[in-house]
């Protein structure tokens, strides 16, 4: 568990953003850097040749042409778009991003070009055909997207038992098919497009949210007004409506923002956000810290459970590896080697998404706890084994000669001495387990990182990510310091 991808990704989003935010924003002759969550059909996705295609891809290419600049499109996950835009890492973001009041506080949008609603997608034949049927059921949304915001606001009204937050369509659809979730709330055009050729799925209900999509850009950048003007022109020329006809099979109604030129969404206050307001925004922090605290609780519960069960498992494995029959030793060694080499992320996905096909469907929490325990157990077993093997043979012989049975020899003599040796590596392992809990967000577990990601998407501001990083440090730093103190202490004296 040397690496920890999700924790890293948090840093990767946040830290480079700090630097980019100081760099000079793109000159008008440079290519326009566009971030897009590729895979968001029919807006931006890859065709069979691997080329980026879709409604918004064609739109930004045309905008670039009109502005006389090249367009450089890069694949950025939806939740990374906000920090990327504000840091100047990209000049504009597309991905059917809804214009909201909160987002306008941190970013600028061009005038909308698509009016959307949300939709409820269900599995055909499981008795659920409307929002009313979802009382007490688990529903799914995309982390931080419009559907997430709507579902959170309306959770009480409709009595959803739980809202699971996913990174993208595919895993959510898999869980809907398995029956782990009963409904999926997301943008209607994407769902209609997706369900078109899947008879098992059905868009059951339109949810009127009155959202409209546009291109998101850095707050008050000159580019945002230029793009807005180009969009006016393209609407007047009928270019955008032609895109609508191409990608949705029919032209838009004349009253919609796809056809009508409308005002650029008002900028909420006239200042360009500076570094502090972008990354250390007090208001955003106050608004989102309850979410972070909930995430922290989940992270702690998951961490403590996994660490504890991993310790028990590891101790059993270590003893089996040292003292069991050759056959058992072999199996245990194989277990330890396999689970130390398998990436935790892969294991987590297998446990969560593959086991249901053999009839074992674990909740996100227990799936994550299982994966963490299984891997942590393998590491702990090796730590314990090394600890026990470091005890001189004479200690075993003296215990045996006194007539102490195996149990007392272990509990009174060997393990108490081994513990001292293994505490530093075990604590390191604990730190890794806690950091690895962040990987649980791939199975829609609302841990600290997941909550922070969601919060930054809702607020369109990376402050929650910074706050989460600080929380991780606050929790892990004492452990790290404790380990190095112990290591020093054991180095100096024998006792």
């Amino acid at each position: 568990m040397k690496y920890c991808r999700s924790f890293l990704s948090l840093i990767l989003i946040a830290i480079p953003a700090l630097f980019w935010s100081f760099s000079v924003h793109g000159q008008s002759s440079d290519p326009i850097k566009v971030g897009a969550n590729i895979g968001n059909v029919p807006w931006e996705f890859q065709d069979t040749n691997g080329d980026y295609v879709g409604f918004e891809i064609e739109l930004v290419n045309e905008i670039g042409k009109r502005l006389g600049r090249e367009v450089d499109i890069m694949n950025v996950p939806f939740n990374g778009l906000f920090a990327a835009t504000q840091s100047g890492r990209i000049d504009m973001a597309i991905s059917s991003i809804a214009i909201t009041e909160t987002r306008l506080q941190s970013a600028s949008f061009a005038q909308p070009y698509y009016d959307s609603d949300q939709s409820l997608t269900v599995r055909v034949g499981n008795g659920i055909s409307s929002l009313e049927d979802l009382r007490g059921q688990i529903i799914a949304v995309d982390t931080g997207a419009t559907g997430d915001m709507w579902a959170t606001e309306n959770q009480e009204k409709y009595g959803f038992s739980e809202i699971r937050r996913y990174e993208g369509l595919a895993p959510a659809m898999l869980d809907l098919t398995i029956g782990r979730i009963q409904g999926y709330i997301s943008d209607i055009p994407a769902m209609q497009y997706y369900a078109k050729d899947k008879p098992g799925l059905q868009v059951a209900e339109r949810i009127k949210t009155g959202g409209s999509y546009s291109i998101m850009m850095g707050k008050n950048t000159p580019l945002s007004t230029q793009v807005n003007d180009v969009i006016s022109t393209l609407k007047q020329e009928g270019f955008i409506n032609a895109l609508h006809e191409k990608w949705f099979g029919a032209p838009a109604e004349a009253t919609t923002s796809t056809v009508k030129v409308v005002d650029m969404p008002g900028v909420r206050d006239g200042l360009i956000l500076n570094f502090v307001e972008t990354f250390l925004n007090t208001q955003v922090f106050l608004d989102t810290y309850p979410m972070l605290i909930m995430g922290l609780m989940t992270t702690i519960q998951l961490g403590v459970l996994s660490i504890f069960s991993g310790l028990v498992l590891g101790l059993i494995l270590a003893l089996a590896r040292l003292y069991a029959s050759p056959a058992v030793k072999f199996v245990v060694k194989a277990y330890i080697d396999i689970f130390r080499s398998i990436p935790l992320l892969v294991l987590l996905i297998v446990i969560f998404y593959a086991l249901p096909f053999v009839g074992l469907s674990l909740s996100p929490f227990y799936a994550a706890a299982t994966a963490l325990t299984v891997v942590s157990g393998a590491y702990t077993a090796e730590i314990f084994r090394a600890g026990i093997e470091a005890i001189p043979k004479g200690q075993f012989e003296a215990s045996e000669a006194l007539g102490l049975g195996y149990r007392h020899m272990m509990s009174d003599i060997i393990l108490p001495q081994a513990i001292k040796i293994v505490i530093p590596p075990l604590t390191n392992n604990c730190i890794n387990v806690i950091k690895d809990t962040a990987l649980a967000s791939v199975v829609a577990m609302p841990d600290l990182l997941k909550q922070a990601t969601q919060a930054q998407a809702v607020a369109a501001n990376p402050t929650p990510l910074i706050a989460a990083a600080v929380i991780y440090v606050i929790f892990l730093l004492p452990l790290v310091l404790w380990v190095s103190r112990l290591e020093n202490k054991f180095k100096v004296g024998d006792r």
Partner: protein
């Protein structure tokens, strides 16, 4: 009356190497037997078979107080009756001196903490380190540690004590204090088998001296038989070598 310890046709192989060859030995209750012989002759192997720290070949039989020494339920009982003192003391470094001595009686004999403590202090006084009861092994000298190890073995009130070169790891000036303790025990009637290179000590305390070579008991007899009038050439050569150097 059968002997307290009985070895019949005991052999021991490490792979192809034969460390013990058909050893027969009876030790009576109250007897003090010293085992001498060159390095690698199988002295340690023989006494370690008696409490099954080494598994002897299944062609032989060892009994302690009539109970056969073999794997299984009875092994704990045998080991409780056989105390052992090692060359390297093997005290438990994470426990105080007192706890080192108290542990086994509490765990195995099931006696109360108070009784165990009382008894442990008596024994520590007897070996002359009652003052140090609360210290840890690393804080004591080698001679003191070995005396604690003897007290620890005695705490189980064993029928027999096995010593495997109890003074070989000690600085010369500490050898005496440990030998004195063992000698006092010998005079008090405890049955003992002592593997030793201290010829003077063997001559003084042993009822019987056994000379081993190449995994066999070559010769045995009273101290004066062995030291003053050895019959076997191998014994003579060995004694010449150790006494002249």
């Amino acid at each position: 009356m059968t002997a307290l310890i009985k070895l019949e046709n005991v052999t021991k192989h490490y792979g192809n190497f034969q460390a013990l060859k058909d050893v027969n030995l009876d030790v009576e209750e109250g007897e003090v037997v010293c085992v001498i012989g060159p390095s690698g002759s199988g002295k340690s192997t023989m006494i370690r078979c008696i409490n099954l720290l080494e598994q002897y070949d299944n062609t032989g039989i060892i009994t302690v107080d009539g109970i056969q020494v073999q794997k299984g339920k009875n092994l704990k009982n045998v080991r409780a009756e056989v105390g052992m003192v090692f060359q390297n003391f093997n005290l438990f470094p994470h426990l105080s001196i007192l706890k080192n001595v108290m542990l086994a009686p509490m765990r195995i004999r099931g006696i109360s903490k108070e009784d165990a403590k009382k008894r442990a202090l008596e024994l520590l006084n007897k070996v002359g380190i009652g003052e140090q009861a609360d210290k840890f092994p690393a804080q004591l000298s080698g001679g003191q540690q070995q005396r604690v190890a003897i007290a620890r073995a005695l705490a189980m009130e064993p029928k027999v004590l096995l010593f495997d070169e109890p003074t070989s790891a000690l600085d010369p000036e500490m050898v005496g204090e440990v030998l004195e303790v063992i000698q006092a025990l010998a005079h008090s009637g405890v049955t003992m088998i002592v593997v030793t290179h201290e010829m003077g000590f063997a001559r003084q305390v042993a009822n019987r001296v056994i000379f081993m070579d190449e995994g066999q008991i070559v010769e045995q007899g009273s101290p004066s038989d062995i030291f003053d009038n050895p019959q076997e050439i191998r014994t003579q050569n060995f004694l010449k070598a150790v006494l002249n150097h």
